[in-house]
């Protein structure tokens, strides 16, 4: 009888071992919950909203640029940090998103990488993830090429255009810097791997 039980246990173990991977790197949030979260309009910010946060030097946000490093070095939104999309999805998100008090805003050239990353981060349990809709393309169309063409401007429009002008100026200044200066500036905004506290040296 013992042999029979052993065989049953071994076969059960084999079945369990051959089951599809249920990795600890899989999404933690329930699909239905994640769906309603990511379809909520509040997860998207317009470029105007992001421009305002930049101009106001809001310290509760972190803008994450998901484009390749070469593209980031050439051109980026002021104050953003670079985490290329391929690294973002293949590394431990805790490295980049450990501070739950900071709201992370993703952007890329268009809408794909940023939206993938937002769903990915939220699926991994990082609710502090938002997306800048339209990416850098939309930034150019709305902020950099912004011009008022009407005859009378309202106070609200005036504030909007002023913010756009300030954001555009900052963007132009930073991205026009010589490479050497820019490198220093970028280094200040670079992610460094989280150091372990304590332990042997």
């Amino acid at each position: 009888m013992r042999k029979k039980i052993t065989v049953i246990l071994l076969l059960s173990g084999l079945v369990l071992a051959l089951l599809p991977l249920s990795a600890n790197r899989s999404f933690m949030v329930k699909p239905e919950k994640l769906l309603s979260e990511v379809l909520n309009p509040d997860v998207s910010l317009t470029v105007d909203q992001v421009a305002k946060l930049i101009v106001n030097e809001d310290s509760t946000i972190r803008i994450i640029d998901l484009r390749p490093t070469e593209e980031f070095n050439r051109l980026s939104i002021p104050g953003s940090v670079n985490v290329p999309y391929i690294y973002f999805i293949s590394s431990d998100l805790y490295t980049y998103m450990n501070d739950r008090n900071i709201t992370n805003i993703f952007y890329s050239n268009k809408s794909f990488y940023s939206n993938y990353a937002m769903v990915y981060a939220r699926g991994m349990g990082y609710k502090n993830s938002l997306v800048m809709e339209g990416g850098l393309s939309e930034w150019f169309n709305t902020v950099m090429e912004s011009k008022f063409t009407g005859e009378r401007i309202s106070a609200r429009e005036n504030a909007l255009y002023e913010t756009r002008a300030k954001a555009a100026q900052l963007f132009t200044q930073i991205n026009s810097m010589p490479d050497s200066l820019k490198a220093v500036f970028m280094a200040a905004n670079k992610f460094s791997a989280k150091k372990l506290d304590g332990g042997c040296e």
Partner: protein, 155 residues
């Protein structure tokens, strides 16, 4: 059999655990796959298709996510209109899984297609694509004009 009867409690616990593991492994009610591996496909853009590529797909199922007019009335015989909110309803998931060919997500907003793609692919559903107007899905076409005379104050 006698041994099982004698160890009823242990056998029952073992059976419950075994069934629970099997259920978790084969049910489609949660996420259970390696997320980075499944997301990897989105990096190269191999999940992006253009309208010209659609005729080349066999047994394709087009999912129109928000009554998009991109394809107009073309391919209506194999188009399923689904509100993004209800994409995870059983009947829709069953229809997607049963389809033998590729599933193409169509939306007037690329952001909605991208979000739904990531969600469905993390559920282990393969062969899902996004219809995009251009194959260069993440290429910046705007030109930047540097101003070398201005210096930022923060330096």
């Amino acid at each position: 059999m006698d041994t099982f009867k004698k160890n009823r409690f242990v056998s029952a616990v073992f059976l419950i655990l075994f069934v629970a593991v099997l259920y978790r492994s084969f049910s489609h009610s949660g996420f259970r796959y390696d997320a980075p591996k499944l997301a990897g496909q989105s990096f190269q853009g191999s999940n992006i298709v253009t309208e010209e590529q659609i005729p080349g797909f066999q047994n394709a199922l087009i999912i129109n996510l928000n009554n998009s007019e991109i394809l107009k009335d073309k391919y209506s015989e194999f188009t399923l209109k689904v509100n993004p909110d209800s994409i995870l309803e059983k009947k829709n998931i069953r229809r997607i899984i049963k389809n033998r060919g590729p599933v193409i997500l169509v939306s007037s907003e690329n952001s909605i297609s991208a979000r739904i793609w990531m969600l469905l692919s993390q559920k282990g559903i393969k062969n899902i694509f996004i219809l995009s107007e251009e194959k260069d899905f993440e290429v910046l076409k705007n030109k930047f004009r540097p101003d070398t005379l201005s210096v930022p104050e923060l330096i």
